[in-house]
Symmetry: C2
Subunit: 313 residues, 2 copies
């Protein structure tokens, strides 16, 4: 069962006082370059630096006192980890985070800084899951899946609610897609509010499992994905695939050089720091020039956690 | 004669419809680190990427039609040049910009992108002034000094007006100081509105002419200044020195490594791009730990024009 608009609204009311209502920004220059009105929802300014804080907060706030006392755990390449760690800290719980050893330094530091216990593992899904299982056995913590979880999807959908409150006349709404939590929540919210809106996702060519799964209408997990968009290495889950098949209009692909170009454009012209994953929707528009000229496009900038010592410029 | 609060208010009314009212941002993390409430006025989001757009706009809007038709000119290491070029373009005038050959690439591109004519010169004040004089002779354009001009100082002071409208309870207000236009305008506005507020400036140790001039109460121009804060290489002028001696409480110095640390802190924690000059007030607080603990401090982030191919991280 996937969340509905009602679940997303309930999530919004639940988390509202704990999250930032992030600003929506635009750039005259980018609008001219693209020949469209683009509205960027700045989740890079969200607490812990990414939209993930919404879903993590919603998940933790639905746990009872005993569960919170036993702690919460997850495996994550970074942003969900940071978000869960920060929420746990704020709620007086303990986060147990399984991280791939090759996660960006800035994300490792952030997670540690929020007081979480970190368990490093090899950078593959099997190692993550095995390590996580051990940690759950040892601690009794509640596993909060990074995307394939009802409360996570409902929480991530709240960013689209805010964007559409400020810009109810969007023709298109876009997110990047990794595990699909943000895309699912966004698509459910947007299509339920405005059935005529087009919901698009951007995905790196080197990690195109969602694109393949969408076209074949079944889960095709990534086999050794390679992209600088480190937040999008994960593959869809059952629940996010269901939501995406029901509510998403299309998934567009982009090359790595377009991700760098889009990221650079946003940094130079908007003076805001976005991580590579956030640049993927704009990069996908660059490479797929049809269907959006002259339109109003909302893009959710997913996060801003970048290793400044390791930039692609 | 230096501007008064009335002149700054008039400038504000004159330019209001052409400038961005930039947001004021804070970071819980930075506040905790510093043990103070710091409010950053984000002029990095101003048009052309720096506060300079305020003074340039105010200057151009006080010219008559004939003067605008003959064009406007300046010499500038970058941000004033970009600002004047953009204002001239918006007003249908022609900008003539004398730039040191070693200006950051991103600033050269921005100036050219706004349709200005660029005249490169050696990176010293004499070469700038000689080249500028020739251009004025040839074109009849009006010279808009980057800081030592009544309308420039009045225009730059409008950022402080906005910051103090939103946070009238600031104990301290800070800017970086290069030529002194921003500092002068800020100091006049702040002290006239709130006589008890402390007005401080941050200046790089390697370009400390304002610090010397302030202490000796006379112009001591920089002799071969060296700092990564490329917007602060200029020396005070007569008019800015007068304003600073009358209204500023102190100038604090900082080392280059503190500028990098402060810049990195803002990038990583606030997810916004500021140029090195903007990091100088925060860097100066890091090095001068007295007098501001527990206080409310407003800092004007001067600009966000950074060469991404040449970062100090």
């Amino acid at each position: 069962m996937i969340p509905t608009l009602i679940d997303i609204r309930e999530a919004h009311n639940r988390i509202r006082s704990m999250i930032h209502r992030t600003p929506v920004m635009s750039s005259q220059f980018i609008n001219q370059e693209f020949g469209a009105q683009i509205y960027f929802k700045c989740e890079n300014f969200q607490k812990a630096g990414a939209f993930k804080f919404r879903g993590a907060t919603n998940s933790c706030l639905t746990l009872n006192k005993e569960e919170l006392a036993r702690g919460v755990g997850t495996h994550s390449s970074g942003n969900h980890a940071g978000a869960l760690a920060k929420v746990a800290q704020l709620l007086g719980s303990q986060a147990h985070i399984v991280m791939p050893s090759n996660s960006p330094e800035v994300k490792k530091r952030a997670v540690a800084g929020y007081g979480a216990k970190i368990y490093y593992c090899e950078p593959n899904l099997l190692a993550r899951e095995n390590t996580m299982e051990k940690v759950i056995d040892q601690t009794g913590c509640t596993f909060i899946h990074p995307y394939n979880r009802f409360e996570i999807i409902a929480g991530q959908g709240t960013a689209a609610i805010e964007l559409l409150e400020e810009h109810p006349d969007l023709d298109i709404i876009m997110t990047p897609v990794g595990g699909g939590g943000l895309l699912s929540g966004t698509a459910i919210a947007a299509k339920s509010l405005f059935p005529d809106i087009r919901v698009l996702a951007g995905e790196p060519l080197g990690a195109n499992d969602a694109w393949q799964s969408f076209r074949q209408k079944k889960l095709i997990p990534s086999d050794n994905p390679v992209t600088m968009a480190d937040g999008l290495l994960t593959s869809l889950g059952e629940m996010t695939l269901d939501a995406i098949l029901e509510y998403v209009d299309d998934i567009l692909l982009c090359k790595e050089e377009s991700i760098v170009a889009a990221m650079r454009l946003v940094w130079e012209r908007m003076k805001i720091i976005i991580e590579p994953s956030s640049a993927v929707p704009l990069a996908s528009l660059m490479e797929n020039r049809e269907g959006w000229t002259g339109k109003k496009v909302g893009i959710i900038l997913s996060g801003g956690n970048v290793d400044l010592g390791n930039l692609p410029f």
